[in-house]
Amino acid sequence: MLKIIIPTIMLIPLTWLSKNSMIWINTTTHSLVITLISLPLLNQFNDNSLNLSTMYFSDSLSTPLLMLTMWLLPLMIIASQFHLIKESPTRKKLYITMLISLQIFLVMTFTATELIMFYILFEATLVPTLIIITRWGGQTERLNAGLYFLFYTLVGSLPLLIALIHLQNSTGSLNMLLAQYWSEPLKTSWSDTILWLACMMAFMVKMPLYGLHLWLPKAHVEAPIAGSMVLAAILLKLGGYGMLRITTMLTPITSFMAYPFLMLSLWGMIMTSSICLRQTDLKSLIAYSSVSHMALVIVAVLIQTPWSFMGATALMIAHGLTSSMLFCLANSNYERTHSRTMILARGLQTMLPLMAAWWLLASLTNLALPPSINLIGELFVVMSTFSWSSISIILMGINIVITALYSLYMLIMTQRGKQTHHINNLPPSYTRENTLMTMHLLPLLLLSINPKIILGTLY
């Protein structure tokens, strides 16, 4: 793992010591090279994990998320180049340093063996994200957004710290690999149920669970493009990853403790999908669609069947790429019209046809069109939820229909129809934007051909 962490840390001196004309070129190049050298981690040749050292390991669950994190840094750097044009070089370098430090924390989080280290880095990822949102966000609402984001996550995760320290005391070790074998079954006493809640709430807030999701629309909307991308693509998945890891230690009371959260998620995904149909703000629509997709992941993780775990992992990766791409597309609109109102710039298909192609593909993957990995994830989750309880198929079916509705609504509203008269002078799509979309879409399509690497530990 050091061959990935040390080069990522060294990206910071690279940023600060580059000539002003070479900042973006150097960081883009080197972050892409780092992505390439981390690909061998995908060589999961046995059904156990790759135990790289006493501090870091990577198995079939953490490796796809790690790959997504590494792939996203160059994409964030490419996406941020326009809105930072007027900033001073020092500010640009500071912004890139924030992105790189976030990357370092995320890489270490996904590969941490020890749960306390995972926790510390989980919290540490909040700091660069908060700085990105509150310093480089666009509107005054960004301060409120940062506050919601920080305190929702902190309040959720402080009980997790106490729970982890208690587990360390009782079990003797918080090594994730050992804890699977050493953990004792939890009883149905008050203390063990509160322990279950303490462990899970941090990740529920992060996912986010439907009742605790208020931070997400604010944070996603107010963040600059790189902030939105990393929030939607990776930080939400930290919650899913944490839940998948910690549920191995929380059996067997999960079977009844999970019911309130299952109900909240099953209902919440329909609610948030429906809210998407009434959104005027484009980024807010994509943010609520993230909540809806993550609710599916929560349901999958809580019912704990092999197929649902496979579906959860696939859905996390698929949603990461799709959501990030949608935010980039919304940003390309924002950079031209300086407004996030969806109906403001309509009929873009005639003006920017290639961008319309990207919009179409992003919307199609968002509504889980076969044979994309979005469909594989959703299908596995729907099937395993149906086997858990037959009546949930109604809710899942309604959610799939409404997801299709709002994805097509977003597509038709921005791309089709007659253009609004004031957007006649929009600049055409830049190579940078097309590169960004291609680099989002090609991994998504290539994974449809070879999905076994993202199907997680139970494949």
Binding site: S21, T28, P40, N46, I85, H338, L442
Partner: protein, 144 residues
């Protein structure tokens, strides 16, 4: 939303208006700052005088990365080469030729081999008991 328009003072032309009261920072707002209000379609970049000029006028081969043509061209090349040619193509080929992921194909071959062997020996394909019955130690039956 409409009340914000009156805050900017309708008497002053927009180009000469002072800092809008709702911005938190005291520094000049960046060009990409805006809001969802329909009334604020014209960004602050107009104040610097070249807001609506297309970048393609100065550089017909503008790729969107930088206003300096050389830097722009290099950034585009670097992005495409390392992003697509190296990372996606070489990386994708590497991933395609990875060996048996998670030992699934090995497991299939092993299962077929064991089935053939067990059928030849006449043993059942799989034993009924998961654990060795002799090793299970049951507590003595208690008298109620």
């Amino acid at each position: 939303m409409l009340t914000r328009v009156s805050r900017f003072g309708s008497a002053l032309p927009r180009l000469l208006s002072s800092q809008p009261a709702r911005f938190v920072s005291q520094s000049k707002p960046t060009s990409s700052t805006g809001s969802t209000a329909v009334t604020e379609l014209h960004p602050a970049a107009e104040q610097s005088g070249h807001g609506e000029v297309s970048p393609y006028v100065k550089n017909p081969d503008y790729h969107g990365f930088s206003s300096d043509p050389v830097e722009d061209e290099w950034n585009m090349r670097v992005g495409f080469f390392f992003g697509i040619s190296v990372a996606l193509v070489i990386g994708g080929t590497f991933l395609h030729y990875l060996p048996d992921h998670g030992m699934r194909q090995w497991a299939r071959r092993e299962a077929e081999r064991l089935v053939v062997q067990r059928e030849k020996e006449g043993l059942p394909l799989i034993e009924e008991n998961y654990y060795d019955v002799n090793k299970i130690v049951l507590p003595a039956a208690e008298k109620e």
